[in-house]
């Protein structure tokens, strides 16, 4: 898969962004973090491509390192608004503080800030997988609406699928740490993420389409 093809496929997140822009004012606020993150992701994909084209690999790595933390914050915010931490704001902030400390530590250890923070990526993907599975179970038990029409179902499923493959690819990369590997192998591992990313972006778009309109109360008074 060439860089161009990879870039075009990654732009699929644009569908979600477009749907988000169209529906933004008419949907429930609890979906806002999802749309914010979709916009940030699209921006990151575009900047990544530009940086690769200009062969600024260190800058790209730094940006992805920062994005990992931002992604974690937005997903936990989304889950928090969906009631994962029983709407406990302190717990939500505490979890993010812990994540920030881990991000700081693993961004400078074992390598510098210009190298991928692999340990943090494995940890945050695992945490998000746990959060997503718990929220998924809540949705399946509590929501009585058909699952196919439930936006939370599509979004959470997307998160579970993406981070499962992400975790697989990242742990494989981690096991190769320190070993001199070929460019093809690294690209091959990246492709696993790219294909899952494509499927997940389409699932996010379906989820965004399913988000119901906010109920307007004209009031009887």
């Amino acid at each position: 898969m060439t860089n161009e093809v990879q870039f075009i496929l990654s732009l699929c997140i644009g569908f979600t962004v477009i749907i988000g822009i169209v529906k933004f004012k008419r949907i429930d606020r609890s979906y806002y973090p999802f749309f914010y993150l979709a916009c940030i992701s699209l921006l990151v994909e575009i900047i990544s491509y530009v940086l690769i084209e200009k062969e600024m690999y260190d800058e790209k790595t730094v940006m992805i390192n920062v994005f990992c933390f931002i992604e974690f914050v937005f997903y936990t915010w989304l889950f928090h608004l969906w009631g994962l931490f029983n709407f406990n704001r302190r717990l939500f902030i505490f979890i993010n503080l812990i994540a920030f400390l881990m991000w700081l530590v693993f961004s400078f250890y074992p390598e510098g800030f210009t190298k991928p923070n692999m340990y943090f990526r494995v940890i945050y993907a695992t945490a998000l997988l746990f959060f997503a599975v718990t929220t998924f179970n809540k949705v399946v038990i509590q929501d009585r609406a058909p699952l196919f029409k439930n936006p939370k179902f599509w979004i959470i499923l997307g998160i579970i699928i993406f981070f499962s493959f992400y975790l697989l690819s990242r742990t494989a990369s981690l096991s190769l740490f320190g070993i001199d590997t070929s460019r093809q192998l690294r690209r091959g591992l990246q492709e696993v993420i790219n294909y899952s990313n494509l499927i997940v972006n389409l699932m996010f778009a379906i989820g965004a389409l399913c988000i119901p309109r906010k109920k307007n109360f004209t009031g009887l008074f």
Partner: protein, 248 residues
Amino acid sequence: MHTQEEEFYRAILIVAAVVGTILLYFIITAIRYHRKSIRMHKDKIQAEIDTLENERRRIASDLHDELGPLLSAVKLQINNIETVGEQDQQLVVKSSQHIDSIIQKLREISNNLMPNTLLRKGLKSGIEELAETYKKASRLEIKFNCDQEIRLDQNKEINLYRIVQEVLHNTIKHSGANLLLISLRKDDNRILLATADNGKGFDYFSKSKELKGLGLRNLQSRTEVMGGELICNSQPGKGVTYIFDIPV
């Protein structure tokens, strides 16, 4: 890629395929069990509501058809007693009055259990009568607005009537409101029942989680059984608005 790398990459792909299959199986089973759970839940609520309504109907009919005539006969017999003195006469009159109030009370209970007006004249008249009864019994001002005559299948009418009854009960008992507005409208393929009070309001999510919130769960269950949607808009200090959107 070297041979060793190729083998490693192949192993990763196999693991990815296995993970993908497990995820697919997980999704399919989750959807199947969700559907099954919804069906079972709905059947269970329907059975509970049916049992409750049948029992109410039976008790109402027993009270009205058996105890009522029996008490009337007793009253007739008491009135026919030939009294000797003034004291006996007063006793007979008093007993007759007591029997009258018992008969009246029985009618009220029977009507409360299974309202005749609802069964004979339909939902609009049923709710009108209910609102009048509650208006007399409390200081709550109730305004009911319905422009059309609405006839639905009896189960739906009873469920909607019970919902209004529950809302009235909750408003009087918990809200501290002095005004309740009820609106009933039928569109092409749905019934819209809306209620709004000017009381102290509550936090819907925390209340619906409480086990003792039976009234709220009753509203949810009856709406669910009719395949409808319950929307509650309430904040502490800002009253409660319920909207029941029921497909016909």
